[in-house]
């Protein structure tokens, strides 16, 4: 929020961007914008992603709470799903956490190698989902800041 004086258009100058966003990946999306002021394309992608992430986190939380059916498998799939879009946008931290969610959901450790118990999975999922969500909100602030000066 403090970077409202930043007119250079470089998202990496916004505080918090440096370790949450992969500049190369994000910039190749920015390159697709036809208008560098409006940034209609990347903006709509990013804001759609916000909605997508919000609803995915909600699903994750309720799924982990209810523990119905193959909830772990579902959590793994949700993690994979969000991993894909965050990776495409270059939101590295969110992506890494989502990858962990994917592994925990399939009852593996965070590297996807060793098996873990359902209990372990649930515990790890709980903290990791919370962490992913926090990271998402952080990067959301950065992105909102970035798109704000053309609002």
């Amino acid at each position: 929020m403090s970077a409202s004086d930043d007119k250079s258009g470089d998202i990496m100058l916004i505080p918090g961007a440096e370790d949450t966003i992969d500049p190369a990946t994000f910039e190749q999306i920015l390159e697709m914008d036809e208008d560098e002021v409006e940034r209609e394309f990347s903006r709509s992608i990013v804001y759609d992603f916000f909605g997508q992430a919000d609803s995915t986190f909600k699903k994750m939380e309720s799924s982990l709470e209810k523990k119905e059916g193959e909830y772990l498998k579902e959590l793994s799939e949700l993690g994979h799903f969000l991993k894909g879009s965050s990776a495409t946008l270059g939101l590295t931290k969110v992506k890494d956490s989502c990858e962990k969610i994917q592994h925990y959901g399939s009852q593996k450790d965070e590297t996807g190698v060793k098996d873990i118990t359902e209990k372990e999975s649930c515990d790890k999922l709980k903290t990791t989902i919370a962490q992913a969500k926090k990271e998402f909100l952080e990067v959301k602030d950065v992105l909102k800041e970035y798109y704000k000066d053309t609002d």
Partner: protein, 632 residues
């Protein structure tokens, strides 16, 4: 004796002209008009008019006094002037012309041999006025001679060109025939492979029986078994190898008969076999302008812009036909849909400020993007669009299989792996039952065992996620080599066809005055040239026009050609339709295995070519997918 020589043998060394001249003066009946001079060392034309009308034709086969004088000059005769005499008048009368040569004397025929044609000398500035007057006609002769020669040359070239274009079309036919043969062989090969796989499977089953489930190495050389999923349920490695080779060198993909057919059609059109006017003139014309003009730059695309505002002719498909990807660049950009959960495939369209070079496709590659994640799908589409591809998308493997099974033709499929309803690997496996379009796995799961599994199920390549623009472009170029423009392909083909094209252009363009059909046709047929001396104005006018017309016509010709190339592709829906139907017939038997899928997708448009135009219509199988709403 002297006179004998003059009439016959003695003349052997002297020139025709001089002999004729001498002979003319021997005729006493013409004395009142032309005769020897008083001293016998010159001759005098007394009555210019009579001489020109009656004597000249008799001896020199023309009636042009100026020409006669010029000839005399060439032989170094000189007009005798009488300026030194009192009144400046000739003794033979005021209208008389007296000519003299030191060796041209009455009764001295031997001396005639010394009269020779002058070597063309540079004109002396102090030449008498009369010669000045003669010079233009001399030049005219030269120019007209050159013109004739040029036209003869042109005629020869035209004949040669026609010959070559006939050969060209014959060759095209041959190559098309060969391609068909190769494709047929390819299909035979695939059937053999299928059969061998069956045999192989039986063998493996048998060997399993005899060696037990974890038995030693099966006798048929299955070495994959150990390091794969620790079972021997894989096809024998020679078979795998062969399958892979087959899929790599797939004739269906590598040979694109459509290109040739389109060339062929252009040739036919040019040779006049096909006289129908190109129905989709404008449609094809707009395309090159709306994209960066890469190699077809220069005159070509500049000229085409004039055609932009032509109306769409009411053709086969009434203007815009969504089937033709060429349109993708013409459709004004619509904001990408906000709601991406619609099962409707979308073209992302619009103009692109170009940070990306045009890869230079001969036509926009048709790409099917299979991706459940809206973010990835939109960015992928955007990149593909920037690479001048036309994009169709499917939200999961099932939709992709249905689309392909319903007959949609793509040049490349980009396939996500983990998707709801039907994952990418299974989708690929299904598609491989009836189609050989290259499929590239798009995934973040790129461990080596993952990758080998992708290949086993018929995928052709892997594009790791998150992909980059460069990675994506590399994939496209790798698998769509056959769609790359070989530098300046289209232009070279029909360039030397100024005449017919010029005529077509005349119909379309009023702004090029030099291209009236009349001019063109005259230029085209030298035989129409008047045979008389071209001093008159007609020929030179034509020549001048032709000269002007030539440079104008050429850009014209060049600009039309790429367009025609497109027309060829565009305006032959019948041919394409046939080709597709053929392809379908080939696909039909395996397709019927998967009947349930095509049934579900409402897809009896397999057999209904008319419906294929709407193949992007969203008749997708929601009803089949109770789980589809899941991970959004």
């Amino acid at each position: 004796m002297d006179s004998n020589q003059a009439g016959g043998a003695g003349s052997s060394n002297s020139s025709d002209f001089v002999r004729k001249l001498y002979k003319m003066l021997e005729n006493p009946s013409d004395e009142s008009v032309v005769r020897w001079g008083n001293d016998g060392d010159s001759f005098v034309v007394l009555e210019n008019e009579k001489f020109t009308k009656h004597i000249l034709p008799k001896h020199f086969k023309h009636s042009n006094f100026a020409s006669f004088v010029r000839q005399l000059n060439k032989y170094d005769f000189h007009k005798v002037r009488h300026n030194n005499e009192e009144n400046g008048q000739s003794p033979y009368g005021p209208g008389a012309w007296e000519f003299k040569h030191p060796d041209f004397k009455m009764n001295n025929k031997d001396a005639l041999d010394n009269i020779r044609r002058k070597a063309p000398a540079p004109r002396k500035p102090n030449q008498p006025n009369e010669t000045d007057m003669l010079v233009p006609s001399q030049q005219m002769d030269m120019v007209s001679g050159q013109l004739m020669a040029t036209q003869a040359q042109l005629h020869a070239l035209e004949g040669r060109y026609n010959e070559l274009s006939i050969h060209h079309s014959m060759l095209l036919q041959e190559v098309i025939g060969l391609q068909k043969t190769v494709v047929n062989h390819e299909h035979v090969m695939q059937q053999i492979m299928t059969f061998l796989h069956g045999v192989d499977a039986t063998q493996r089953r048998n060997s399993k029986l005899s060696f037990g489930p974890n038995g030693a190495q099966p006798p048929n050389g299955n070495i994959e078994g150990a390091n794969q999923a620790a079972d021997d349920d894989n096809p024998a490695s020679p078979l795998q190898h062969a399958s892979k080779l087959l899929s790599e060198t797939n004739a269906d993909v590598m040979l694109n008969p459509r290109n040739l057919e389109q060339m062929n059609e252009i040739t036919m059109r040019m040779n006049g076999t096909l006289t129908t006017p190109p129905p989709d003139f404008a449609r094809a014309a707009v395309r090159p302008t709306s994209r960066g003009p890469p190699s077809a730059s220069s005159a070509g695309s500049m000229r085409l812009e004039n055609l932009d505002n032509l109306v769409y002719p009411v053709g086969q498909s009434n203007g815009i036909d969504p089937m033709y990807s060429e349109h993708i660049n013409n459709i004004p950009y619509a904001a990408p849909p906000k709601a991406v959960d619609a099962a409707e495939p979308k073209f992302l369209e619009g103009r692109k400020k170009s940070t990306i070079p045009d890869p230079g496709w001969i036509r926009p590659p048709q790409i099917l993007l299979v991706e459940d994640d809206p973010t990835c799908r939109r960015i992928g589409s955007k990149f593909l669009y920037a690479f001048h591809c036309s994009i169709d998308s499917a939200l999961d493997g099932l939709e992709a299989v249905n689309k392909m099974n319903a007959g949609s033709k793509y040049d490349l499929v980009l396939m996500d792996i983990i998707m709801p309803n039907l994952d990418g690997v299974s989708a690929c496996h299904l598609i491989r039952q009836f189609d050989t379009t290259p499929i590239v796995a798009m995934t973040s799961n790129i461990r080596s065992d993952d990758i080998s599994m992708y290949f086993q199920h018929g995928m052709n390549d892997v594009l790791p996620k998150p992909f980059t623009k460069e990675g994506l472009l590399h994939m496209l170029e790798k698998h769509l080599v056959h769609l790359k423009k070989p530098s300046a392909q289209g232009e070279g083909m029909a360039a030397p066809q100024p005449v017919q094209i010029a005529r077509q252009l005349v119909l379309k363009e009023e702004d090029s005055p030099a291209k009236s059909p009349a001019t063109v046709s005259n230029w085209n047929s030298p035989s129409q040239m008047p045979g008389v001396s071209p001093v008159g104005s007609t020929v030179t006018d034509e020549y001048a026009q032709a000269l002007q017309g030539q440079p104008v016509q050429h850009p014209g010709a060049y600009s039309v050609n790429p367009m025609q190339a497109n027309i060829g592709y565009n305006s032959s829906p019948q041919m394409q339709m046939q080709a597709r139907q053929q392809q379908q017939q080939q696909q039909q038997p395996p397709a019927s295995h998967r009947r349930q899928i095509s049934d579900i997708s409402g897809g009896d448009d397999m057999s209904n070519p008319a419906k294929r135009q709407q193949m992007y219509a969203p008749h997708m199988p929601q009803q089949m997918n109770p789980m589809q709403q899941r991970p959004r």
